[in-house]
């Protein structure tokens, strides 16, 4: 066989470049495993009963209550701490040593954040659902119209624009006018971010419904709206529900718009017109905190958010796979 002169070189390049694509894939998988691994291990170790049932505790007071030490600063007795050494050694007068807030002891839990996230994200989803689902129906059932292209593009703009922009817009519209950070403002900001997800998944799922089903309904004399609500949407319902769950998971993890609209809180609040705590906000604030105990809570909050995303994505995967199998 007459092999070309540069055959070995070409073969070599082929091997190297194919190997480098494998390497690139490895480069993507390693940080993924590192992130998921760290969050799951460090986050899981932050979990306790207290994590889910307690609210914010000042590290100072929590530490003092836990090991019987004197709080470095007692809000009920502000002058008690004066003259007491703050390096953890016992004072000369024989009282308990001052609480060491950098020991990483217990600092309460994030129940207020969990409740806040459920309320804010739930309300946001409630606002986003009618617009998202009907826009999805429009995009799927009238898919060839020119206006549908415009709507589709606007959806892409919404999902592509930075999440902070949604926060800024709601800050201008709601927070400045009402002179108050509020949970409802956060829900509206999350609504802006969830609409494109609900719209696009609804559209995709409705498009998966075989054309023959639409034709069959039409053949029986059903008008479009009737066949849409009784035939096509029920057929695509599992897919739409998973899309809604995905939107919930995305909204629950959004932080930037909440900084500008919800602000955060240290107590359990269910007042929609007042600042409220939220899990991603707590993860952000506790990451910036100097207290190791609060840093641990940040890992715990990250763990809960990560589990939400993982579970939702796996559920979506299972649901869509079953759908794809059934339509075949």
């Amino acid at each position: 066989m007459n092999t070309p002169k540069n055959y070995r070189w070409r073969k070599f390049v082929d091997q190297v470049m194919r190997g480098s694509t494998v390497f690139a894939t490895g480069c993507a998988v390693i940080p993924l495993i590192a992130i998921i691994g760290y969050v799951l291990t460090l986050g899981a170790s932050a979990l306790s009963v207290q994590f889910f049932t307690d609210v914010y505790q000042p590290p100072n007071m929590a530490q003092a209550a836990a090991d019987g030490s004197t709080p470095a600063f007692d809000p009920n007795d502000p002058f008690a701490g004066i003259g007491v050494p703050t390096d953890g050694t016992a004072p000369a007068d024989g009282t308990a040593p001052v609480a060491d807030v950098y020991a990483g002891g217990p600092v309460g839990g994030v129940l207020h954040g969990i409740i806040g996230t459920l309320i804010i994200t739930g309300m946001g989803l409630l606002f986003a659902l009618p617009i998202g689902i009907f826009a999805g129906i429009y995009l799927s059932e009238y898919r060839n119209e020119r206006y549908a292209t415009i709507v589709r593009f606007c959806c892409d703009v919404l999902s592509g624009s930075p999440s902070i922009v949604a926060g800024v817009v709601i800050y201008i519209l709601v927070v400045i006018r009402s002179h108050e950070f509020s949970a409802i403002a956060g829900s509206l900001a999350l609504m802006i971010l969830m609409i494109p997800i609900v719209t696009r998944t609804t559209e995709e799922m409705l498009k998966l419904v075989p054309e023959s089903m639409r034709e069959a309904a039409r053949g029986l004399g059903a008008p479009t709206w009737y066949s849409t609500f009784t035939v096509i949407i029920p057929a695509a319902l599992p897919g739409i529900v998973t899309g809604v769950m995905l939107a919930f998971a995305r909204g629950a993890g959004e932080t930037a718009p909440l900084i500008l609209t919800v602000l955060g809180s240290n107590v359990i609040s269910t007042n929609l017109f007042a600042p409220m705590a939220s899990l991603p906000l707590l993860a952000y604030r506790y990451t910036e905190s100097p207290y190791p105990g609060e840093n641990t809570l940040a890992w715990g909050a990250a763990f809960v958010l990560m589990m939400l995303v993982l579970v939702m994505n796996i559920l979506v995967r299972v649901a869509t796979r079953r759908r794809a199998g059934a339509s075949r």
């Binding site: 694509t21 609409i195 990250a302």
Partner: protein, 328 residues
Amino acid sequence: MAKQQPAESWSNGKSVFRHGDVPFRIGTVVLASCVVALVLAMGVIMFVSSGEARTAFGWDVLFGQDWNPVATDMAQPAFGAWPAVRGTLLSSLVAIVIAAPLALGIGIFLAELCPPKLSTPLSFLVELLAAIPSVIYGVWGVFVFVPFFNQVFSTPVSDALGDYIPWLAGPVATGRGVMVTGIVMSIMILPTIASLTRDVLRLVPNTQREAMLAIGATRWETIWLAVVPYSRAGIIGAVMLGLGRALGETMAATLLIGNSQRISPSLFAPATTAASLVANELTNSVSTLHESALITVAFALFGITLVLNLGARLLIWYVDRGMAGGRS
């Protein structure tokens, strides 16, 4: 859609209104228009609210060097967000330089080389990266990646080369800075670029590959000379979408970049980005002018991502269209 034609003409009859299709259509169009209205409203609201700063400073809001919100005896308040704009551009540049080649490799591997059994779980893993909330990247970055990177890369490199190359100069104080932010951002935008690249590569007609293989090309030559050039426009579009995501990234940047207004040539030095400037200062703005300047920055972000989205969608749409024609 030719099949649908008879049914369509049938449903255009007079009795349609009685059957409720016109109200259904109006309803879906109105709710779909909410999406369009939302995008327009976001643009208009931010344009109007940024008016004060734009008339006071003009383009200097974005390109002025001084960011000084509080009036002192020494200086009038000045709003020039160039440090933030520069930080955004630099960190996104680092992100795209790292992510684009890796994502191209992943896309090629997933679309062309990967055994089908491995392809689905790998795609799922890569897409999972995109679903993780950005605040988790921030938490992971602060507690795990920054100390690691500081020890393994920043400190030795700035010690060895910092005196000769100004943009690798030390001191690497906390480790937070442009380069760390760029690297974490590159992990975040990898899945966006990789999955879109995979999709456009899969659209390349098989005749391209077969023709190349038939004249004796290796696998890699087939990919690099026949498949990738064919979908070049789509890959550029994917990179643009990734760039848009990096430019607007808020939480990871806020936590990792160090939020410093000082302009330093070093990539290891703390800086700030447009999105993190808005997230940090908007809720604490000291005057309406300050507020308005921050809204101008957010508006610029919105505008840039809109242009990038438009360009990317046009490119991907162009590829999609050209290939659909080519295949038939």
